[in-house]
């Protein structure tokens, strides 16, 4: 058996494809950096990421795949599914060797896998648009903390800059410990280095809040409760559409009035 192991980056993946052709090999599996190496193998090749090789594979891909498929591939790559790098490897190998386009061959598990993981990642990015909750701080900045499953903040931040273009805000990914600060003109990546309680709870303390913040939170919670119909209670559906892992930072699911 022939195994390749790469460093987990997208360039590493592309380099692995390049090397497979260079070495005239068809690896049985592409292993992630922390992937378990099987007991028996003939070859275990460590792929050394090389920007130039990666670029050449990417250019070649650009000739056979549509833009939508290219972006689908890079989006899907953000998934946490440990099987995915191997699937993506097969997908790219097939794409660069086929005459016609393969992106719609949904009888190929690799093609389906790209579609499926891309959908999962986009779903998570969409949940940010749904479930981010800003709190207004005393200085007028709006602050929100999230912990998405994947690194999707970069996919969502432009939406918030567009929507709240006259409003300074911080959108922070606690799991990856970085965020974006938008000052009303430009957005930049930043991280906050403090142990203050608001960084752990995601909730601004009373001193940090704008004078009216508490009132609007209460109004929102009041509304949230009043709009539900008692005769139709369905907590299962609520959980299904609003996964519990988001509740921690949802204004309406926390605090009592």
């Amino acid at each position: 058996m022939v195994y390749y192991r790469f460093d987990g980056t997208f360039d590493g993946l592309l380099t692995a494809v390049f090397q497979a052709f260079e070495r005239h090999e068809t690896p049985d599996r592409l292993l992630a950096p922390d992937g378990i190496v099987p007991l028996f193998y003939d070859v275990l090749h460590e792929v050394e990421t090389d920007g130039e090789k990666a670029r050449r594979v990417w250019l070649k891909l650009g000739k056979t795949l549509s833009r939508a498929s290219l972006s689908g591939l890079t989006t899907a790559f953000l998934t946490d599914n440990p099987e995915f790098p191997d699937m993506a490897f097969r997908y790219i190998c097939r794409a660069v060797t086929s005459d016609g386009s393969i992106e719609n061959d949904f009888s190929d598990p690799a093609v389906l896998s790209v579609l499926k993981e891309c959908r999962r990642v986009r779903g998570e990015a969409h949940r940010l648009l749904q479930f981010v909750r800003f709190q207004k701080a005393a200085d007028g900045t709006y602050f929100a903390m999230v912990e998405p499953l994947f690194d999707v903040l970069p996919m969502a931040v432009s939406h918030f800059c567009d929507r709240f273009n006259d409003q300074r805000f911080i959108l922070y990914d606690r799991a990856r410990d970085y965020g974006y600060y938008y000052d009303g003109e430009e957005v930049r990546r930043m991280s906050i280095d403090t142990d203050s309680s608001y960084m752990n709870t995601g909730r601004l303390t009373d001193e940090m809040m704008d004078a009216d913040e508490r009132l609007f939170q209460r109004l929102w919670r009041t509304y949230f409760k009043a709009t539900a119909i008692q005769q139709r209670m369905n907590p299962r559906k609520q959980r299904q559409d609003m996964p519990e892992r988001y509740w921690k930072y949802l204004t309406e699911m926390n605090g009592c009035d």
Partner: protein, 421 residues
């Protein structure tokens, strides 16, 4: 904005909650860099889900729940002795803006009881929308209710600020509507719909030869029917929907299982639970009409005027039409694939693409996401050997697919809305 606002909001959100429309879809409006808000991609964003599992996308609230009318099915009818409240224009505007800036909502869905006269009420709804757009430069979503009987001028003005407008027909047949809501008739409902429709069409026409044409209800109209407050059949309801969808600007028809709010009124049926299964079946039927190319007539025909509560309407149709099956997945046109129980729009699209590359087997279908447990009775794909509905009988297939103690029957609250088969 004070404690008192809190109490008013509580009353007026509860008063508005039986209107099921929540959607914020149908408009794309990028922020113009001067003001706040956008609407994205034509699909709405659900910001939260209430304990009843319904999506919260808009701040759905009534301006007032005082009403001079006495519709039997409505909690706000004048003969009810309930807490009443009225929000001021600036309260509605402020709450909307503040909620929006915190990403709680996509915008506002504003309705109202009728006070003094229709125009007086409509005018205040318009004031709020106008303030939001012109004073606060709000670019988010606004859904306004047309007050039945409001003048054309006011509806036209409302249409310049609103993304969507709606007026609920509530009861599908006019005779029963008049019985339950003596002060209303179909004209009072269809007239505001017509004003909006004409406004949209004129607006389209203007856009052809004028450069700067203001928007006019870009997300079209919606309406709602109450299910189970009158003895209309599902066939009555679906035929009404189909007629409504035939109107050029009608985007969505909603169905609201009647919640028994006025059980003292002898004109209404006594019900412990809202008819949730029936409501769900109607949404599925609606879905079939909008995305699966089914006609109302096919879903509820004269012999079966009510939907089968045990099976979804697509399976119901398939069982009534064994003669069209089995469908060959490697050859059948897309429209036929859509008719197969267990095959959704998504899997039908994948099948049509994938079969260009090779003969598909049940293994491929499974990977693609076809629910074989259902589909197997209705398809062939080379090697598949299951006995189809053509080899057996609709009764046999039905007995395989509907276990005796069906979960949906036992507990309608466990039903979900998701419909992909």
């Amino acid at each position: 904005m004070t404690e008192a606002t809190l109490d008013k909001l509580k009353i007026l959100a509860a008063a508005a909650k039986y209107d099921v429309s929540c959607s914020s879809s149908g408009t794309v409006r990028r922020s113009d860099g001067n003001g706040v808000g956008n609407t994205v991609g034509g699909v709405g964003i659900c910001h939260s889900f209430a304990a009843d599992g319904r999506c919260i996308s808009l701040l759905k609230v009534m301006l007032t729940n005082y009403c001079m009318l006495d519709c039997a099915y409505c909690v706000n009818r004048r003969s009810n002795d309930i807490p009443r409240a009225t929000l001021s224009v600036s309260e509605v505007v402020d709450i909307t803006m503040e909620f929006y800036r915190r990403n709680y909502i996509e915008g506002l869905f504003l309705s109202s009881g009728v006070v003094r006269n229709p125009d007086y009420t409509m005018e205040r709804l318009v004031r709020i929308a106008k303030d939001l757009r012109e004073v606060h430069r709000f670019n988010g979503y606004i859904h306004l209710k047309s007050i039945p009987g409001a003048s054309r001028e006011l509806i036209n003005e409302a249409g310049r600020y609103a993304d969507r407008m709606s007026v609920n027909i509530e009861i599908p047949t006019e005779e029963r509507l008049k019985y339950l809501a003596p002060e209303k008739n179909h004209e009072s409902i269809f007239l505001p719909m017509k004003y909006v429709r004409q406004g949209v069409l004129e607006n389209k026409e203007d856009k052809r030869h004028l450069r700067h044409v203001p928007r006019f209800v870009p997300a079209g109209q919606s309406t709602q029917m109450i299910v189970g407050a009158s003895d209309d059949t599902d066939r009555d309801i679906l035929r009404a929907s189909s007629m409504l969808y035939g109107m050029p600007t009608m985007r969505r028809v909603y169905y609201s299982g009647y919640v028994s709010v006025n059980d003292y009124d002898p004109r209404l049926p006594a019900m412990k639970q809202p008819p949730l299964v029936r409501e769900n079946r109607l949404y599925q039927a609606d879905w079939l009409m909008r995305f699966y190319q089914f006609k109302a007539e096919e879903i509820a025909d004269a012999d079966n005027p009510n939907l089968d509560l045990d099976v979804d309407p697509k399976l119901g149709w398939a069982l009534r039409h064994p003669e069209v099956f089995p469908v060959d997945v490697n050859r059948a046109p897309y429209e036929m694939l859509l008719r197969v129980p267990g095959v959704g729009v998504r899997s039908a699209t994948l099948i049509v693409n994938a079969r260009k590359f090779r003969q598909l087997t049940s293994w491929h279908l499974k990977k693609i996401g076809v629910v074989l447990k259902r589909a197997q009775y209705f398809i062939t794909c080379g090697e598949l050997t299951a006995r189809t509905v053509a080899d057996t009988s609709p009764e046999y297939v039905r007995s395989r697919l509907v276990p005796k103690s069906r979960a949906t029957k036992d507990n309608p609250l466990q039903m979900t809305f998701d419909f992909n088969s």
